[in-house]
């Protein structure tokens, strides 16, 4: 049972306001997809969930207590790239989380403990369809397999919250459907809260129980950093439709163009 509560959250870097007045209540076992133009604080929001960034103002509570200010095992992450360990085999990558928890000094397990952990790791690999590849190193895997490995590696820790930072953006479009099926299966089985950032509005519509749109409400060309982004749409699953899709496409593109024009390029 996990809840998140975010109230009047602001994030500023000096004069630059990134997020302004974000409010969000998350119930247990929600699958939230986050879309928005680039530069609208999606990644900043994710980094705050991770504990990489602290809010400038406002409260950010997980299960009623303030979020820790560093990453921890209750919040798993899958990045777009580089989130598996190249020096460990597929099995070793999944095993790592179990070993770290059980062996504080050596970070390794031996004997019966190791056998039990190995069995658990193999089950996990089985459920993401990587059993055949268990002895390979990550560089021998395709991009999709690496992402499945990264997901397995996080999920085996049974995190309260799983964060996905554009996990499928670098993959062939054909692979997304399989990956979506996989992530939904794991979400149902492991009862986590999932936050998934995506660039692909369609993906945001298909997946999840709730869609959040991060956008700037006010665009001031004279002072582009003066106003931050906030959650402009908070849409539960089921009310998505063509009209809404077009509306969101238009508004995020408007902000994207605004940000692009200001870029010093």
């Amino acid at each position: 049972m996990t809840t998140l509560s975010i109230r009047h959250l602001w994030k500023e870097y000096g004069e630059q306001v990134v997020l302004e007045n974000v409010n969000l209540e998350v119930k247990d076992n929600e699958f939230i997809t986050i879309v928005g133009a680039s530069g609208c604080g999606k990644t900043t929001f994710l980094r705050m969930l991770l504990g990489e960034e602290e809010p400038s103002r406002g409260t950010f509570l997980i299960d009623g207590t303030p979020l820790p200010n560093e990453p921890g095992p209750d919040r798993g992450i899958v990045f777009q790239r580089y989130s598996v360990f190249p020096h460990l085999t597929v099995l070793g990558n999944v095993l790592l989380g179990l070993e770290l928890a059980a062996a504080p000094l050596t970070g390794r397990l031996f004997g019966a403990q190791r056998r039990a952990a190995l069995e658990q790791a193999r089950d996990m690999l089985d459920s993401v369809g990587l059993s055949e590849a268990q002895d390979k190193y990550p560089h021998m895997l395709s991009g999709g397999m690496q992402q499945r490995l990264s997901i397995a590696q996080s999920v085996i820790k049974n995190p309260k919250v799983l964060l996905l930072d554009e996990p499928f953006a670098a993959l062939d479009p054909g692979l997304s459907a399989d990956m979506h099926k996989l992530i939904l299966k794991l979400w149902e089985r492991h009862k986590m809260n999932i936050f998934m950032i995506t660039h692909d509005l369609k993906e945001g519509f298909e997946l999840g129980t709730r869609l959040l749109v991060f956008d700037k409400v006010r665009l001031d060309p004279q002072a582009p950093g003066r106003y931050g982004a906030t959650i402009t749409y908070d849409i539960p699953l089921g009310v998505t439709g063509k009209k809404l899709f077009d509306e969101l496409t238009t508004t995020t593109q408007r902000t994207e163009r605004f940000v692009d024009h200001l870029a010093p390029a």
């Binding site: 020096h87 820790k157 995190p159």
Partner: protein, 272 residues
């Protein structure tokens, strides 16, 4: 006609091309040697191969009449022991300080400028100090090698540590890794092959410092021997010694490369 950058030799002709400069050097030596010997049979600068052969016999096969040792082997053993100690201690220092300054921001803030300053001291300039402080024995020679290459190793490995993707470091923390576990299971294993790479690059400097130390104060060693017989213009001994040192350096480089490839099969593809 294709551009010259697009013309590639076959493997056979590549081998021939590789052998060609060596062969040309040999020819040039033979011509120069016989020309000088025709002028003056006592010439010492470019001795004939027969003379070099006799010197090799004397130094590498027959025991020295005074000490009873075979000089080349005794010199090689003494030099390699110094080199091995110097490299091993430097590697340990490089790995420890490289990882700590690479991963702990407070250690980086406190130590990096100091190490950068240390690495700018020309090691040979403080060689007299080393002889005064550590005496003329083995220790000062090993310390010179360490002072010569450890700062480079520390800085290089700190850089390699910092280059590990931030995603990996965060991911490890979300898997529950403590700073210690992160170092032990994520950073250290990925730095070992990079350490071998850096060691390979610093082999040249290590030899330089070894020979410099041996030239100035030693009782044996490859560098000592070359500088000793220099007084007699004994090119027939110096040339085989230089060739031998080159051969050892090549073998060490090859060995380190082979270890990197076989012990860390993941390393070649890790950049992907």
């Amino acid at each position: 006609m294709r551009r010259i950058i697009n013309l590639r030799p076959s493997s056979g002709s590549a081998a021939l091309l590789a052998a060609l400069p060596f062969f040309l050097l040999l020819i040039a030596y033979l011509l120069g040697s016989s020309a000088r010997l025709a002028d003056n049979p006592e010439d010492k600068l470019l001795p004939a191969f027969s003379k070099i052969g006799a010197a090799i016999q004397q130094y590498a096969i027959d025991p020295d009449p005074r000490s009873g040792e075979i000089l080349l082997w005794a010199d090689t053993a003494a030099s390699l022991a110094r080199l091995a100690w110097g490299l091993a201690i430097s590697a340990a220092i490089g790995l420890t300080f490289g990882i700590v300054t690479g991963i702990v921001p407070y250690a980086r803030a406190g130590l990096s400028p100091f190490i950068a300053a240390l690495s700018l001291i020309p090691p040979l300039a403080i060689l007299p100090i080393l002889f005064i402080v550590f005496g003329l024995g083995e220790l000062s020679k090993v310390v010179l090698i360490v002072i010569g290459i450890a700062p480079f190793l520390v800085r290089d490995l700190a850089q390699r540590t910092a280059e590990l993707p931030a995603e990996q470091i965060i991911k490890a923390q979300t898997l529950g890794a403590s700073s210690w576990q992160l170092t032990l299971r994520v950073v250290l294993p990925q730095l070992l092959p990079r350490l071998l790479d850096s060691l390979r690059l610093s082999l040249g400097s290590a030899w330089l410092f070894l020979i410099a130390a041996e030239a100035i104060a030693a009782e044996n060693g490859l560098g000592y021997r070359i500088f000793l017989i220099r007084r007699y213009l004994a090119m027939d001994v110096i040339l085989p010694y230089v060739l031998w040192i080159t051969l050892i350096a090549f073998a060490m480089d090859y060995l380190l490369r082979t270890i990197t490839r076989t012990a860390f099969p993941w390393y070649a593809g890790a950049g992907k």
